[in-house]
């Protein structure tokens, strides 16, 4: 089966320093892949590269079996959706925030009016539609941010540590809800986190990036029980002890 995304021989630099070097990574359709690693390891660089917000020095990204660079940045990005660590909601109503991506794609008003309440309900924030985004709590804002991305039905959803700023109970509830939604919608997802239990809960496979290199891609059990090398072992044990 052709993977949805296949990355080969990738080298990304930020300034003069190598931010990410990756020989091969394949992301299957409907899969949730967690990317873990210490701070500064290159996890977010991978997401930004997959969103074509960073240009690699070399390497190729294939999307659905075709070269991603064959289409314009905007066309490519309209097949994905990015959720960042901070919700970064726009200074307008919750409704308009969730509608924004659809408006960028020229979706008709009637369809927007129909879809937005639906997705706000699915994320449990339907009652907040008319509220201004700056009046929301951290958990509510992140739910709105997820609704804003999921409403686009992206072929690839990129999540960059979306729960790291939330308190543990809020994080746990949101993680449960997101897990259910991703299963229901069969959305291919790359989920960056430095929280191993979080990664294991949401993803079928975990990619471990340490020191700007991909060290292991395997099931959570394999990462915990059969780490590929000393670096992965140290990272996993350190995180578990923490």
């Amino acid at each position: 089966m052709t993977p949805l995304v296949e990355v080969r021989n990738l080298l990304v630099k930020r300034g003069s320093h190598t931010a990410l070097q990756l020989e091969h990574l394949a992301i299957q359709n409907a899969e949730v892949l967690a990317v873990v690693g210490p701070n500064g390891a290159g996890k977010s660089t991978l997401l930004l590269t997959l969103s074509r917000l960073l240009k690699p020095e070399r390497g190729e990204i294939q999307f659905n079996g075709t070269q991603a660079s064959a289409e314009s940045d905007t066309d490519y990005r309209r097949r994905i959706a990015l959720v960042m660590q901070d919700p970064l909601l726009f200074d307008t109503s919750v409704f308009d925030n969730v509608a924004s991506g659809l408006k960028f794609r020229g979706v008709h008003k009637d369809e927007i009016q129909r879809k937005v309440p639906l997705w706000l309900e699915r994320l449990g924030v339907g009652h907040l539609a008319k509220r201004r985004a700056n009046q929301l709590s951290g958990g509510e804002a992140q739910r709105v941010s997820l609704a804003r991305a999921l409403i686009l039905k992206p072929q690839l959803l990129l999540l960059d540590e979306p729960f790291s700023a939330l308190d543990p109970p809020t994080r746990s509830r949101l993680l449960d809800d997101l897990g259910t939604l991703l299963k229901e919608t069969a959305t291919t997802t790359v989920f960056v986190t430095h929280d191993l239990p979080e990664a294991a809960q949401l993803a079928a496979r975990i990619a471990v990036i340490i020191g700007n290199r991909l060290h292991q891609v395997s099931s959570p059990d394999d990462v915990f029980n059969s780490p590929a090398d000393e670096d992965v072992s140290r990272f996993v044990n350190h995180r578990q002890v923490k």
């Binding site: 917000l53 990005r77 960042m84 901070d86 200074d91 307008t92 924004s100 960028f104 201004r132």
Partner: protein
Amino acid sequence: MNLEIFQITLLSLQISAIATGLSLIIGLPFGTLLALGKFPGRSFLLSIVNTGMGLPPVVVGLFVAMMLWRSGPLGDLRLIYTPTAIIIAQVVISFPVVTGLTAAALQALDPRLILQLYGLGASRTQMIWMLWREARLPLLAALMAGFGSVISEVGASMMVGGNIRYQTRVLTTAIVLETSKGQFDSAIGLAILLLAITFLVNWALTWIQQRGVRK
């Protein structure tokens, strides 16, 4: 006299509104380019613009007068001592104000907002439009500062407009003339009128601005 005051007031408003509008048309995209662009000389251009924000109107008047003077490089256009000449000078005064404050407003936004907008599928134009929307409060302040810098200036209007009755006399130059003649009553009346107009325009813009204030 009443009719003349009305004509002077109307001309002042027309000239300053057109000059502010033109400054906005040029300054908004230019300020955006300076804030978001990555090209050699960007910082240098930004420092020129920031210096331009404090340009003395008489200096602008001097250079615009030299350009438009009958023997000057643009003398053939016969614009000296016309309302158009005042508009040109006022654009030179207010354009750096609008540009500099636009750049500052956009640079104050969270830089990750651009990544987020692109990550939701915004085109470059849509991304810029959304940034203007996010920065609408300081951008309206830029507009008010631009208007304030031209409605109140006298040096440039006097030098390139010539303060010609019924043609290029505006409120500020009329106040100077009345004061020089010792006609303080008329000068004070015109000054109150100028203050009232400036207040009304800024009040309207502030009202629009504060509708969008974060509560």
